[in-house]
């Protein structure tokens, strides 16, 4: 449900960044979405064209890379990827784990078009 407001905020940020580089158009957006980020990739893909309409990001190719949850176990040292999203080591069952991946929600990179000349 909040994907639209996040998409709008992303569009503002990437349009500002692209303009600073002299771009007239954003061609591709590389977005990283973690399993624990609270964002649904499908909902974001649905919201993005609405947020981008009428901006230099309109029509950009949105590439979403989903990052699974990863937890590092303080007891056995294993790094596992529990599914469903439980904070428990899949190797030894310990609850003494630290989340090492899965909270990401960021634009990694843009591909932009800069007019030549």
């Amino acid at each position: 449900m909040h994907e639209l407001s996040l998409a709008q905020s992303m569009v503002e940020d990437i349009v500002a960044a692209a303009r600073r580089e002299g771009a007239d158009r954003i061609v591709r957006i590389r977005l990283v979405v973690g399993a624990l980020s609270g964002v649904d990739a499908d909902a974001f893909e649905f919201a993005f064209p609405v947020a981008a309409e009428g901006t230099p990001a309109a029509g950009a190719d949105l590439r979403i890379r989903e990052v699974p949850l990863a937890v590092h176990c303080r007891d056995c040292g294993a790094t596992t990827s529990p599914d469903p999203l439980l904070c428990r080591c899949e190797t030894c069952g310990s609850a003494a784990v630290d989340v090492t991946a899965g909270r990401e929600l960021k634009v990694e990179a843009l591909e932009i078009h800069v007019p030549v000349g």
């Binding site: 909040h2 960044a17 600073r20 590439r63 469903p84 904070c87 591909e111 030549v116």
Partner: protein, 279 residues
């Protein structure tokens, strides 16, 4: 496919960033930039100079297509405002709790009872968010604490800007505890830092015992869980042990209160905890 950026080789040609890859230059130095102009007034807002010192670094290209590295969180703007809210609150000795739950799990009822029990003991303030109506603010009024309703209209969550706009007004000097009653929603509010010190997840016993497993984003982010409406347990086929197990599975070591704001059972432990937090 390129290992560094996942691009197809055709794209590598199209974007002009042929191999070997130029290194990414993350350049995510945040540049906090304290604004030194004198602030006569005492607001946590930033006067809209959103200095986003991202410095994306481009790659040279001949055909006009370039790749720039961003490494910028989608929540960066919100998080910057939230950090200022938190600094504002902390510098005034105010502890802020962000209450998040499904609609109807008893946030407002718990706050009514909490304000009544803390009246005369601790100076509290409340910000309450809903899509529309000020019904909650009216329920919470006249209990000895300033209350401010935020109507988010179409938005399913409060964001840090909402809180910033009301902070100086709702939390006068001397305030010790600020309760933020978020919009009833178990998903979206978990993603938005408001500048609170603690997220509190409420779960009523009329909801499923396995709700923490179904909504791990909130229950892994909240430091405190409150099981509400425990007076209804005898009438329901509800397994308390299973719910405790689900909470610990999603968030090992999570601090859990079990209470009924209606009968008052379990309220003492919650109130004592709040008094210690504010102390």
């Amino acid at each position: 496919m390129c290992k560094d950026c996942g691009c197809e080789s055709a794209n590598a040609r199209a974007t002009g960033h042929g191999h070997p890859h130029p290194h990414p230059h993350p350049h995510d130095h945040a540049h906090p930039h304290p604004h030194d102009h004198a602030h006569a007034h005492d607001h946590p807002h930033d006067h809209d100079h959103a200095h986003d010192h991202d410095h994306p670094h481009g790659h040279a290209a001949e055909d006009g297509l370039r790749r720039i590295e961003m490494e910028r969180s989608l929540l960066a703007r919100n998080d910057e405002i939230a950090a200022r809210n938190r600094a504002w609150l902390t510098s005034r000795g105010i502890v802020a709790l962000n209450l998040i739950s499904s609609p109807g799990s008893g946030k407002t009822r718990l706050l009514e009872r909490t304000l009544d029990l803390l009246r005369g003991r601790l100076a509290c303030a409340v910000v309450t968010g809903d899509l529309q109506t000020d019904n909650d603010a009216r329920r919470l009024a006249d209990r000895g604490a300033p209350v401010r309703q935020i109507e988010t209209r179409s938005s399913c969550h409060l964001n840090a800007g909402h809180l910033r706009d009301v902070l100086p007004e709702v939390a006068p000097p001397g305030t010790r505890l600020l309760f933020i009653e978020n919009v009833g929603n178990l998903v979206c509010p978990a993603a938005f830092d408001l500048g609170e010190h603690f997220k509190v997840a409420l779960l009523s016993v009329t909801e499923g015992e396995d709700k923490p497993l179904k909504y791990p984003t909130l229950f892994s982010a909240a430091q405190i869980a409150i099981l509400t409406k425990t007076d209804l347990i005898p009438a329901l086929d509800w397994n308390l042990a299973e719910c405790r197990k689900a909470l610990q599975a999603v968030h090992p070591g999570m601090f859990v209160f079990e209470l009924s704001a209606k009968t008052g059972a379990g309220m003492d432990g919650w109130i004592d905890y709040l008094v210690r937090l504010a102390g």
